[in-house]
C-alpha cells in the first residue's frame, strides 16, 4: 500500500526550544495512526506542521507524492487535510451550523450565503452522528463535550483525505467516545488516513492500527498496535519501564472534613449529600453533564445554592464566594486550567502566591516579596516543576507543569480540603504518576481530596471511595472493593425507569 | 473673541506711562522678538487676526512667533511659557474665556516680558494694552438687525454657542435688545461650532416655527448651517451672521442667490485687531508707552449696501 501522506526529516525550532528533530513518518489511507508521547514531546507541533499552522524549519510534507508548501491552515484544508486541534476551535458567537461550515459555507447561485442549506446539512450530520443538538443553537452555550462533537461534525462534512485529531477524547465521556469511534471507523471505511493523538493508551487497541512514539521531539519507533502491549508503548515513551503509575496506597481515614446535606441548585443538581474525611481521596464519577462540576463550584462558593447545608470540620458554614471558601481552607482545581485556573501571561511566582497574598503581606497591604520568592522556589522544588525559574511566564510551560503550579497555589494557601476537577486531563503518564504521588502525600499529611474524573481507570486506580452522579443527583456510592467498571457504569448510565 | 476687556481699562490705566527702562535700552534697533498666542487657527476669524499680525510685523521688521491656543486656556498657558523660554520681549495673547490665563500672564510679566492682550482680555495689572472687539456690543447690533428684518409679533431665532463665552456675550447682547420688544425669541440651543449641528437646529426651529422671520447666528459656521436648512425648507427667514468671514461677504453680495436669505453680517475687524496690537507692542518696546490701555475695534454691520467695499 502507498502512503497518502509522508513527513520527511521534519525539524522545528522555536526560539529556545527544539520541538522536533528529524521526524519521518508515513501515513496510510484507511488506517488510524496514533502519535503518543509525553507532554511536550512534539505531537501537536508535528500535526500543526502538517496542517499549515507552522512551517517546518527543515524537512518536507508530501501529500499523494507531491511536496506541499503550506503557509496557512487554509491551504492545507484546500488540499484535503482537516484537523481537530487540541484546543477547542469553536467560535462562541456562531451557531452550530455556522461553526460546522466555517470556511466552506454553501453559497446560493447569486453568491449570497445559503443559510437554509447550511442548517439542513448540519442537522443531517448531527442526526447521523446521533448527537442530540440543534443546528441553530448557539455554540458558545454548549459544554465542552458538545463543542467537541461539533468539531467532529466539522471534519465529517469535509471530504478530507487526511483527518487529524489531537486529543479529541480528553473532554468526552464514554458515551461520546463511542460515538466518536463509530465515526472514526466509518472514515476508515472511506479510506481516509487518520492521525490520532491521545494520552489514553487504552484507546489504542480499540481503533488504531499503527502507533508512532515521540520522545523529546525525536521519533522513537513506529509499531503495529497488534504486535505490542501497552507496557511496551509506555516504556518507549518514557524511556524506561514503568510500573503501576497510579501508585495506589492504603490511606487511613481521619476525622470528618467536609459534609454537605441536601444541596440543591434548581435545574442543575438536587439533594446532594456526602461526607469526605481527612486522609482519603473521594472519587466522583459519572457521565459528562452529570453536574459534578456544578456541585463543586457551588460548594466552593462560585455559584449560589438554593438550599442545603455545608459543614466544614463539623461546623456549619455559609459560603457565599470563593474568598470565604479559601478562608475555610478549601481549594478548587478547576477543570479548565487555561480559562479558570491560571493567569497564563503572569509569572509562576505570581500564580502560586495569588490566593495567599492577603495572609502573607506586610503591614498596610504591601507585598512581601521575600516570602513570595521563598515559597515559590520551595514548591517548585517540592513538586518538581520543570521551568527555568520562578519568573517564567506560565504560557510557556507544558500542561503537566501548569497543573502542578495550580496544585502549588492551593498547597501554599494552606488548603486542607482540595477539590480536583479532572486534574490530569491532557497530562502524560509520567507527569500523572508524579501528580498522583503528590495527591497521596497530601492525603497522608491529613488532607482531604475530592477528585472528579471521567476516566474510569483513574477513578479506579486512585480513589478510596467512589461517588457516582447521574443527571444532577447522587446515584450511588461504592467502596474501593465494590468499585469496578460495570458497577460504576451501571450507576452512571440512565436506566430505563429513570428516563 | 470675547468681551472680558471692559474692566481692564481702569486696572491698567497707568500702564500707559510706565517706563520699562531695561527693555527700551536694549531695544530701539527695530528688530524685536515678539510672541503671539491666537485663540485658534481653526477659526477663520483668528486666522485673519493671525494674517494681520504677520503682515504688520513684517512691515515693521518685527520677529513674530504666532502660536495656536486651540481655544484651551491650559494650552494657552503652556504657549506663553514656551514663548517666554524662547526669549520673546513681549507677548500678546487672546484670553479666550474671560479670566483664562491670568497666572500665566503675571508669571511672564514677572520674568520681564511685556504682556498684551487682544480680542479678549483679563483683569490683570500686568497687561499693557488690550485691543479687541466688544462682543456684547456686537450682539446688540445683531439684535437690532433682527428687529430690522422682522415685524411686531414675529418670531425670531438665535443659534447659540453658550459654551464659548464670546458667543454667550453675543447671545446676551442680542437678547437684551429684544427683551422689551414685541418678538418671540427662540434660542436655548448649542451648535458647538459645528455647521451641521446648526443646520439641524435651524431645521428643528423652522419645523416648530414655520414662519420665523429672521435668525441671528453667533458665528459664521452657524449661518452656513442655517442657510442650508432655510434653503431646503423653502422658508424666507433672513439670516444675520457674525464674524465677517469671506463666505459671509460672498453670500451677502450674491443678492440673487444666497443673499436672499443671508442679508447682513456683524463684522469684527480681525485684520485691524492684529495690526493694531502689533503696532502697540512695537511702540511700547521702542518708546515705553502705548496709545491707550484699551483700544476698542468696533464691530459694524455689513449688508448689501456696503458689502462691495469689503471684498
Amino acid at each position: 500500500m502507498e502512503p497518502i501522506l509522508q513527513v520527511k526529516h521534519i525539524s522545528k525550532v522555536f526560539p529556545g526550544v527544539k520541538a522536533l528533530t528529524d521526524v519521518t513518518a508515513d501515513f496510510y489511507p484507511g488506517e488510524v495512526h496514533t502519535l503518543v508521547g509525553e507532554n511536550g514531546a512534539g505531537k501537536s507541533t508535528l500535526i500543526k506542521i502538517i496542517s499549515g499552522v507552522y512551517t517546518p524549519t527543515e524537512g518536507e510534507v508530501i501529500l499523494e507524492g507531491k511536496k506541499m508548501d503550506f503557509h496557512t491552515p487554509g491551504q492545507a484544508i484546500d488540499a484535503g487535510i482537516t484537523v481537530i486541534h487540541q484546543e477547542l476551535s469553536i467560535a462562541n458567537h456562531l451557531s452550530v451550523a455556522e461553526n460546522i461550515f466555517l470556511g466552506c459555507e454553501p453559497k446560493k447561485k447569486n453568491g449570497l450565503l445559503d443559510r437554509k442549506k447550511m442548517e439542513r446539512d448540519a442537522q443531517e450530520v448531527l442526526d447521523f452522528m446521533k448527537v442530540d443538538l440543534k443546528a441553530t443553537a448557539l455554540a458558545g452555550r454548549l459544554n465542552a463535550a458538545q463543542q467537541q462533537m461539533i468539531e467532529i461534525a466539522k471534519v465529517i462534512t469535509k471530504n478530507s483525505k487526511v483527518v487529524i485529531m489531537d486529543e479529541p477524547t480528553s473532554s468526552l465521556s464514554e458515551k461520546e467516545i463511542d460515538a466518536l469511534f463509530t465515526q472514526v471507523k466509518m472514515l476508515k471505511e472511506k479510506n481516509v488516513a487518520i492521525i490520532y493523538i491521545t494520552h489514553r493508551l487504552k484507546e489504542l487497541t480499540e481503533i488504531c492500527e499503527r502507533v508512532t512514539v515521540l520522545r523529546d521531539g525525536c521519533k522513537v519507533d513506529t509499531m503495529m498496535v497488534a504486535d505490542v502491549t501497552e507496557k511496551d508503548i509506555v516504556a518507549s515513551m518514557v524511556g524506561r519501564e514503568m510500573g503501576d503509575y497510579y501508585n495506589k496506597e492504603e490511606h487511613t481515614r481521619g476525622r470528618e472534613m467536609l459534609r454537605v446535606e441536601n444541596l440543591c441548585q434548581k435545574g442543575v443538581f438536587e439533594n446532594i449529600s456526602f461526607t469526605a474525611y481527612a486522609g482519603e481521596i473521594v472519587g466522583f464519577s459519572g457521565l459528562v453533564g452529570a453536574g459534578r462540576t456544578e456541585v463543586m463550584e457551588a460548594i466552593f462558593g462560585a455559584t449560589k445554592i438554593d438550599s442545603g447545608k455545608i459543614f466544614v470540620e463539623g461546623k456549619e458554614v455559609q459560603i457565599h464566594n470563593p474568598r470565604e471558601a479559601i478562608a475555610l481552607n478549601i481549594g478548587l482545581v478547576t477543570e479548565d486550567r487555561r480559562r479558570t485556573g491560571l493567569l497564563l501571561k503572569k509569572k509562576i511566582k505570581e500564580n502560586i502566591a495569588l490566593p495567599s497574598l492577603p495572609n502573607h503581606c506586610r503591614k498596610g497591604g504591601f507585598l512581601d516579596d521575600k516570602w513570595e520568592t521563598e515559597v515559590s522556589e520551595d514548591y517548585m522544588k517540592k513538586l518538581k516543576i520543570k521551568a527555568p525559574n520562578i519568573h517564567t511566564i506560565l504560557n510557556t510551560l507544558s500542561g503537566g507543569n501548569q497543573q502542578k503550579v495550580i496544585l502549588a497555589k492551593w498547597l501554599v494557601a494552606d488548603s486542607k480540603i482540595l477539590i480536583l476537577d479532572e486534574p490530569t486531563r491532557g497530562i502524560d503518564v509520567n507527569a500523572r504518576s508524579e501528580f498522583y504521588t503528590l495527591m497521596n502525600e497530601f492525603v497522608d499529611n491529613g488532607g482531604c481530596i475530592i477528585m472528579i474524573s471521567s476516566e474510569m481507570p483513574e477513578i479506579l486506580g486512585v480513589a478510596d471511595r467512589v461517588i457516582v452522579m447521574r443527571e444532577g443527583k447522587i446515584s450511588g456510592e461504592l467502596t474501593r472493593e465494590e468499585a469496578n467498571e460495570q458497577s460504576i457504569i451501571g450507576l452512571a448510565s440512565i436506566t430505563s425507569d429513570a428516563s | 473673541g470675547c468681551g472680558g476687556g471692559n474692566d481692564s481699562a481702569d486696572t491698567s490705566a497707568d500702564a500707559e506711562t510706565t517706563e520699562k527702562t531695561e527693555e527700551s535700552a536694549d531695544a530701539g534697533s527695530g528688530s524685536h522678538k515678539c510672541g503671539f498666542v491666537v485663540g485658534s487657527f481653526e477659526h477663520v476669524f483668528y486666522q485673519t487676526i493671525r494674517d494681520g499680525i504677520e503682515s504688520k510685523a513684517k512691515e515693521l521688521g518685527m520677529e513674530a512667533i504666532v502660536t495656536d491656543a486651540e481655544l484651551d486656556p491650559n494650552i494657552a498657558t503652556n504657549k506663553v511659557q514656551d514663548l517666554t523660554a524662547q526669549g520673546c520681549e513681549a507677548i500678546a495673547l487672546s484670553c479666550n474665556d474671560a479670566a483664562g490665563v491670568k497666572p500665566a500672564i503675571e508669571n511672564a510679566d514677572a520674568e520681564g516680558v511685556a504682556m498684551f492682550t487682544f480680542d479678549c482680555s483679563t483683569d490683570s495689572e500686568a497687561i499693557n494694552c488690550f485691543v479687541g472687539t466688544d462682543n456684547y456690543k456686537g450682539g446688540q447690533l445683531g439684535g437690532q438687525e433682527l428687529l430690522k428684518y422682522s415685524e411686531d409679533g414675529d418670531t425670531v431665532g438665535i443659534i447659540c454657542y453658550p459654551t464659548a463665552s464670546s458667543c454667550l456675550d453675543r447671545q446676551n447682547g442680542a437678547l437684551d435688545v429684544l427683551k422689551d420688544e414685541d418678538r418671540t425669541v427662540v434660542y436655548d440651543n448649542d451648535y458647538q461650532g459645528d455647521a451641521n449641528k446648526a443646520q439641524e437646529i435651524m431645521e428643528n426651529m423652522l419645523t416648530a416655527n414655520p414662519d420665523m422671520a429672521a435668525v441671528f447666528c453667533v458665528g459664521d459656521p452657524a449661518a452656513t448651517g442655517a442657510l442650508a436648512a432655510i434653503k431646503a425648507a423653502g422658508s424666507d427667514c433672513k439670516i444675520i451672521g457674525f464674524d465677517g468671514n469671506p463666505e459671509a461677504k460672498e453670500a451677502i453680495s450674491d443678492t440673487e442667490g444666497n443673499g436672499k436669505w443671508w442679508v447682513s453680517e456683524i463684522a469684527q475687524n480681525p485684520t485691524l485687531i492684529g495690526e493694531t496690537i502689533v503696532e502697540q507692542m512695537q511702540k511700547y518696546l521702542d518708546e515705553g508707552k502705548v496709545d491707550a490701555a484699551e483700544i476698542p475695534i468696533d464691530p459694524y454691520v455689513i449688508d448689501a449696501s456696503n458689502v462691495a467695499d469689503e471684498m
Binding site: 499552522v53 496557512t72 491552515p73 487554509g74 491551504q75 484544508i77 484546500d78 484537523v83 486541534h85 484546543e87 476551535s89 469553536i90 467560535a91 462562541n92 458567537h93 456562531l94 455556522e98 466555517l102 470556511g103 466552506c104 459555507e105 453559497k107 449570497l112 450565503l113 | 487657527f41 481653526e42 477663520v44 486666522q47 447659540c160 453658550p162 459654551t163 427662540v186 436655548d188 440651543n189 448649542d190 461650532g193 459645528d194 455647521a195 451641521n196 443646520q199 439641524e200 437646529i201 431645521e203 428643528n204 426651529m205 419645523t207 416648530a208 459656521p221 452656513t224 448651517g225 442657510l227 442650508a228 434653503k231 431646503a232 425648507a233 423653502g234 468671514n245 469671506p246 463666505e247 460672498e250
Partner: protein, 328 residues
C-alpha cells in the same frame, strides 16, 4: 405572551425608541408632525452611515474612532474636487464627484487603518486615534483652515433636496439624503447578514484563532472591514458637504462618540463577535430622537448633555438586564 416578552428582551432598543417617541410626542405635539419625522430621519443620516460601518469593526472586536475626522476630510476633499474641476457641474456630475470622492477617500483612510491593525498589529484604538489626528490635520491643511465654499446648487442635491413635491409640502417629502443613506445601509446590512464574507466577519470577531484555523484570511477580513468603515464614514462626510453646500474642515468633530453609542445601543458588543447593522440603525434613531426632541422641548443645552448621558446609560442597563433575564 412569552413571545412578546422574548421579543422585548431581544429588542430593548426598539422599546426605548418607542417610549422616547411617545414621551416627546406628549411633551411637544410638533414632534409627531410628518415634517418633523422627516427632519429626524434626515438628521440621523450621517450618524447612521457612520454606525453602519462601525458595526463591522466593532464585531471584529476593534473600534474606529477616526470616523469623525474622516467625515471632515472627505467632505473638504469632495468640495475641493467639485470647486476645482467641475465648478459648473450638473446634478449627475455632482453625485459622481461626491460618491467617488467618498469611495476613494474612505477606502484609502480605512485601508490605512486596516493595514496598521492587520499587518502591523497596532491596537485598533491607537491606530484610529492616530488617524483621528492625522485626518483632521489634513482636512485643515488641504482647506487652508477655511470652509470650502462657492459650490453650485447642484452640489447640494444629494444632501439638501427632497423628492415628491406636493402642495402641502412644496419642498418635497422625501430627502434625497435619506434615500442615499438607506441604500448604503441596506448594502452594508446585506453584506453582513447574507454573505459568506459576513459570516467570516463574525467568526474573526468571535475567535480569530479559530477563524484562522478554519482557513479564513483574518488579516484580509480585518482590512476589508476597516475599508468599509472608512467608506461609510467618508459617505457621511460627502453627505454633510452636500447638505451644507460647502466643505467644513471641522466637520464631524466628536461624531465617533455618538456613532459608537448607536452601535452599542443597537446591541453590538464591544468585545466582538455579535452585532447587526439593522439594529444599530435603531440605536442611531434613539440618539437622533433624543437630540431632536430635546431641541423641540427647548431643554437647556447644558442639561441636554446630562440627559443624553443618562438615557444611553439607562438603555444599555435595560438591555443588559433583559438579556440576562433571557438567559435564565
Amino acid at each position: 405572551m412569552d413571545k412578546v416578552k422574548k421579543w422585548i428582551s431581544e429588542n430593548v432598543v426598539i422599546v426605548v425608541l418607542i417610549l422616547l417617541c411617545i414621551g416627546f410626542g406628549v411633551g411637544n405635539p410638533t414632534f409627531i408632525t410628518p415634517q418633523n419625522i422627516i427632519n429626524v430621519l434626515s438628521q440621523m443620516c450621517i450618524n447612521a452611515l457612520l454606525a453602519s460601518g462601525l458595526v463591522y469593526v466593532i464585531i471584529l472586536g476593534g473600534i474606529d474612532i477616526s470616523v469623525g475626522s474622516v467625515v471632515g476630510l472627505s467632505g473638504v476633499c469632495a468640495a475641493l474636487v467639485g470647486l476645482k474641476f467641475f465648478p459648473n457641474m450638473g446634478i449627475p456630475t455632482a453625485l459622481a464627484v461626491l460618491i467617488l470622492t467618498g469611495l476613494v477617500m474612505g477606502a484609502i483612510i480605512g485601508g490605512f487603518n486596516g493595514l496598521m491593525i492587520a499587518k502591523f498589529k497596532v491596537v485598533p484604538m491607537i491606530a484610529t486615534l492616530a488617524m483621528l489626528s492625522i485626518a483632521r490635520g489634513l482636512a485643515y491643511i488641504v482647506s487652508g483652515g477655511q470652509p470650502v465654499y462657492g459650490l453650485p446648487n447642484s452640489f447640494a442635491f444629494l444632501g439638501a433636496n427632497r423628492l415628491i413635491k406636493t402642495e402641502g409640502m412644496p419642498n418635497g417629502i422625501i430627502p434625497v439624503g435619506v434615500i442615499f443613506t438607506i441604500i448604503i445601509v441596506a448594502i452594508m446590512h446585506i453584506i453582513l447578514s447574507k454573505t459568506v464574507f459576513g459570516r467570516h466577519v463574525y467568526a474573526c470577531g468571535s475567535n480569530p484563532n479559530v477563524a484562522h484555523l478554519s482557513g479564513i484570511n483574518v488579516p484580509k477580513v480585518t482590512l476589508i472591514c476597516h475599508m468599509l468603515c472608512g467608506i461609510t464614514a467618508a459617505m457621511g462626510g460627502v453627505l454633510m458637504a452636500s447638505k451644507l453646500q460647502n466643505g467644513q474642515p471641522a466637520g464631524g468633530d466628536a461624531y465617533e462618540m455618538y456613532a459608537i453609542a448607536s452601535t452599542v445601543l443597537g446591541g453590538t458588543s464591544l468585545t466582538g463577535g455579535s452585532g447587526s447593522v439593522a439594529r444599530a440603525m435603531f440605536g442611531a434613531a434613539v440618539i437622533a430622537v433624543i437630540n431632536n426632541g430635546m431641541n423641540l422641548m427647548q431643554i437647556s443645552s447644558y442639561w441636554q448633555k446630562v440627559v443624553i448621558g443618562i438615557i444611553i446609560l439607562l438603555a444599555v442597563i435595560l438591555d443588559m438586564a433583559q438579556q440576562n433575564k433571557g438567559k435564565n
